[in-house]
Amino acid sequence: MIDKTISNAQAAVADVFTGATLMFGGFGLSGIPENCIKALLEKDITGLTCISNNAGVDDFGIGLMLKKRMVRKMISSYVGENAEFERQLLSGELEVDLIPQGTLAERIRAGGAGIPAFFTPAGVGTEVAVGKEVREFDGKLYLLERWLQADFAFVKAWKGDTAGNLVYKGTARNFNPMMAAAGKITIAEVEELVPVGELDPNQIHTPGIYVQRIFQGVNYEKRIEQRTVRKV
């Protein structure tokens, strides 16, 4: 199989351009492509549209891209763990499109799966429905929602092979598999890059067909937002 390995994060993001639409895997700070975000921060690009369930925190994740004013628009389900985000939003520097989480996940899945539109019940009767087609099926109302696709999708996996096959760990999986399929160029960073043949074909979460570039990331911080422990 073709070797999709690229040397590092800088090389992987070299052709990301001003005004591009980007997807970032992760839920909160769990499962985010830390290495790619760092490499993007070194680039002189702006006007980005970022599709990500959340927007990071002030000093980590996509929050750092916001701070550097690289982002024109966020498409997310839940944002604002982040003061700079709020400031830019109120000042009009930043545009935000808030989407119900399941609709966001399914719109991305549809983007990868070649389904331009589908009906979902989430948001019927709410301000999310404004301007959207509403249709009744079997006595229940649904909204028509469109697919989401991206110029580049950045995903983070636990293990990957050189053909781009990916395996995620725990709830760090979240949005990563759908985004891998919805990017024109999908860049995967993995904690461990292995030769083809080492991953069990039955246990691949993202088949390599969706991945155009892969590299082994370094120095994962894996910051925890809500460290919650029980007493023993």
Binding site: F27, G28, S30, P100, A105, E106, V124, T228
Partner: protein, 218 residues
């Protein structure tokens, strides 16, 4: 008047054996503490897990294992991990039996408002709109009145709504109420030492009282 813990405790009595349940943030999270282990329920976390376990010890903490509130968690035996699209396929497809969540307002036809206050920073609806649009059974845990004394059980929601005609039952610090299919809050139980008169005075929406209204038993 019930404490938050008592509201959670009362809601736990609604849980049936073998159910798959999604618990929202706040009081709903506390419900888990009161569900008897022999009911064999499974807690779903919409970021991609069936089978939430207790919070981890320091040694068990894993940044790759969090709940929808971004808290570190553990898994019980028999858990399954999946993607966000699979998670909401599960929710949207009606496979989750029960959703318990907080609310800022509920209307007498079952509309719920819990995601946005005009004039305040909007953080987003997260998975709430998907949950309320799809769950077979939705129970709301909330205070009967807001901090400034306004009823939260209304004829119509005044805040931007999260979903329409979806709430089935409400447990507040004062009462347990069903939302009737034809509209209206049917008073089922009173909190200990709370009078029907007090509940009437604090419920703006249509209150339906039939027969006697027992005090809750814990």
């Amino acid at each position: 008047m019930l404490t938050k813990e008592q509201i959670a405790q009362r809601i736990a009595k609604e849980v049936k054996k073998g159910q798959y349940i999604n618990l929202g943030i706040g009081i709903p999270t506390l419900v888990a503490n009161y569900i008897p282990a022999d009911l064999d329920v499974v807690l779903q976390s919409e970021n991609g897990l069936l089978g939430i376990g207790p919070f981890p010890t320091e040694a068990e903490i894993d940044p790759d294992l969090i709940n929808a509130g971004k808290q570190t968690i553990t898994m019980v035996k028999g858990s399954a991990i999946f993607s966000s699209s699979e998670s909401f396929a599960m929710i949207r497809g009606g496979h989750v039996h029960l959703t318990i969540l907080g609310a800022m307002e509920v209307s007498e036809n079952g509309d719920i408002a819990n995601w946005k206050v005009p004039g305040k920073m909007v953080k987003g609806m997260g998975g709430a709109m998907d949950l309320v649009a799809s769950a077979k059974n939705i129970i709301v845990a909330m205070q009967h009145c807001s901090k400034d004394g306004q009823s939260k059980l209304l004829k119509q929601c005044t805040l931007p709504i999260t979903g329409i005609r979806c709430v089935k039952k409400i447990v507040t610090d004062l009462a347990v109420l069903d939302v009737l299919p034809e509209g209206g809050f049917k008073l089922l139980e009173r909190a200990p030492d709370v009078s029907i008169e007090e509940i009437k005075s604090k419920t703006e929406g249509k209150l339906v009282i039939e027969g006697s209204v027992p005090e809750m038993v814990f």
